[in-house]
């Protein structure tokens, strides 16, 4: 007899306040709802403040990707000012954003995603004991190592930006500080150390060897090539995932979005795509077509979100007016539902690779679909794509330190601008309108709003709601399978949902 039930899934180690409700039929997910459960109100908090206040306030949205919000805020103000910062400012901004993304990718992979491999739900897996030793929360040897090494890497932002997190060293026209040669050399040493560690421990091989992996068959050969690669974090992740039957699980809609990121300075030795970005922009449809990205096609729906309004609105026309009612039963999340050309879109490292035409991830999609293993693998190996450019930009800063880091801009009185970048979790946009020197409108669309969105006006599920459909959950009281799916999107609900009660007051002691 078929048994249908609706359950709220207990998911820990998901950043922020998230509830996942699923409808199960004989332990298989047939419907899903994702709810961001905390209203924060940063966008409304910005209105009426000084034109530059976003540079100080928006980095406080999140403690793990504060440089990311600073970058988006600064880019929006660059546009309003009508200025492209000098090459050295672009190098320094890019470098710090890439550092932040590298630390986030590794902390998410090793401290948030892989600990699922150490749960009793995988006790029968032949690699379970090794997974416990490596990834058990607060004790796994790889967890300790990642905390130690990512902390060192972040010193680069502290040196170049004054502090991490919550720095405000980017301003319209450039950056506020010119590092001296000793500081740049110190950053070079930190980056070299990180690269060496990443190659030895995370990849088990050189960046060049990894970059030669261009197909599923190459990946299979790489995995069997030597013990260092098999025992690396990437090797272990692949072996465990295959043994646990995770390949092909957690497929989303198959639409991918990248805003493009990391503006390449004129004259740089770093090369990118036609659009002058190291990470290309584009939209990939489910049938595999890649279209140019056009920000005017972004809209946010609120039919299922606790906000007033109807229809999809472009962020320049967007409102954030809370409407906390469940009266009609349709609204169930504080996250809005962003759509591109009317479609839900997955964003993040996998989207970056797919939109950019990466051979390995294109082949993985052809073989297994847009599954959770490809999604998480893309995150774990993204630093391999960033590190060479980071080194080049640091070398160029050392060689051209006498060139400008800032171009004077007049006070910002009127105008509209957007800052669109690729954050650790994917496409992040700040849309800003300035009137009479004050912020008249500030709309932020985060990567997790894209990935964790509720249903839109047409009732279409968001990406990770869709990715849960069809998933078999062996034990609904310990839904580790659902955890794999949702965590593979690297959710950050604290950024997404737009005063917290006594029961959730952070307790630091």
């Amino acid at each position: 007899m078929t048994r249908r039930i609706i359950r709220d899934l207990p998911l820990n180690r998901v950043e922020g306040d998230l509830e996942i409700r699923v409808e199960l039929e004989d332990n298989r997910v047939v419907d899903a709802w994702s709810s961001g459960t905390m209203f924060r109100g940063f966008e409304n908090l910005m209105v009426g403040r000084g034109a530059l206040d976003g540079l100080v306030i928006t980095p406080r949205i999140c403690g793990i990707c504060s440089t990311t919000h600073l970058m988006a805020a600064a880019c929006a103000l660059d546009q309003i000012a009508g200025v492209r910062p000098p090459g050295n400012a672009l190098r320094l901004r890019n470098l710090t954003l890439m550092v932040e993304n590298c630390q986030s990718d590794l902390r998410q992979s090793v401290l948030m995603y892989m600990p699922d491999f150490a749960t009793p739900a995988h006790a029968a897996h032949p690699l379970h004991a090794a997974a416990v030793k490596r990834y058990a929360p607060l004790a796994g040897e790889r967890c300790i190592d990642v905390v130690r090494e990512t902390r060192k890497l972040l010193e680069i932002i502290a040196i170049l930006g004054g502090q991490w997190p919550h720095s405000s060293f980017m301003v319209p026209g450039g950056v506020t500080y010119i590092p001296n040669l000793a500081e740049l050399n110190q950053c070079r040493g930190l980056l070299q150390h990180f690269r060496r560690w990443y190659e030895q421990q995370v990849l088990g091989c050189s960046l060049e060897r990894w970059q030669a992996v261009r197909s599923v068959s190459d990946l299979d050969a790489w995995l069997e090539e030597n013990d260092a690669q098999r025992d690396s974090d990437v090797g272990f992740f692949l072996r465990f995932s295959r043994g646990a039957g995770l390949i092909g699980q957690g497929r989303g809609h198959g639409h991918f979005l990248s805003y493009g990121s990391l503006d390449i300075p004129s004259g740089s030795a770093v090369t990118g795509g036609e659009d002058r970005y190291l990470v290309p922009a584009g939209f990939r449809t489910a049938d595999g077509r890649i279209e140019p990205f056009d920000q005017s096609r972004v809209a946010e729906h609120v039919a299922s979100s606790w906000y007033e309004g109807v229809g999809g609105r472009h962020p320049f026309d967007g409102e954030t007016v809370p409407l906390a009612t469940g009266a009609d039963g349709k609204k169930y999340s504080w996250s809005k539902a962003p759509r591109y050309a009317g479609l839900p879109a997955e964003t993040g490292p996998l989207a970056e690779r797919v939109v950019g035409g990466d051979a390995l991830f294109g082949d993985l999609l052809r073989c297994y679909g847009p599954d959770l293993v490809s999604r998480q693998l893309a995150r774990l190996v993204r630093p391999a794509t960033l590190l060479p450019a980071m080194e080049t930009w640091l070398d160029e800063l050392l060689a051209q330190r006498d060139q400008p880091f800032y171009e004077t801009v007049p006070p910002l009185q009127q105008g509209r601008g957007f800052g669109l970048i690729e954050a650790a979790r994917g496409a992040l946009g700040h849309w800003v309108e300035i009137r009479d020197g004050k912020i008249a409108r500030y709309q932020i669309v985060t990567p997790t709003a894209w990935n964790g969105s509720p249903r839109d006006d047409a009732g279409v599920r968001g990406p990770w709601e869709e990715a849960l459909i069809g998933l078999h959950v062996a034990d609904i009281d310990n839904p580790v399978e659902a955890g794999h799916v949702v965590r593979s999107f690297d959710p950050c609900l604290v950024c997404t949902v737009h005063v917290v009660g006594a029961d959730t007051t952070p307790l630091r002691c």
Binding site: R13, L138, V147, R151, P165, T505, L507, C509
Partner: protein, 143 residues
Amino acid sequence: MANTAVICLGNRFIAGDALGCRVYDYLTRISPRAAGIDILDGGLCGLDLLRLVEHRQRVVFVDAVAGLAESGATVVLSRAQIAAHAGGYGHGAGLPYLLQLLPALHPLPLPEIVLVGSEGEPDAPMIRQVAELSMEIAVHGTC
């Protein structure tokens, strides 16, 4: 770098979490400053506090607490007591998470670590009391 540090934590934009910031303001206005003790603003850092702890002999954290004392009362907690509140890793992983991992991250011996805290919106007497107690522990330890 001094062997002892008083590291003040908190968010000055949230009254109930501003104790550390207000104590930092108080301690950095005192003249002359205590020799051999660094007074540091740790802001909202979590794992990044590690570099402020490394290579010290004694560290006194100052922070607001919740649910551990009557409003207005001052508490002193040991490293183990703070670490006992560590949960799983998250983007807001803070002092408990760091102190739980510290024995694995830091060469032995660990510095003596305590936290001086108080609950509720800090007023001038509370700020002075916490500041003076923090400095007393920084100089003499908890023994």
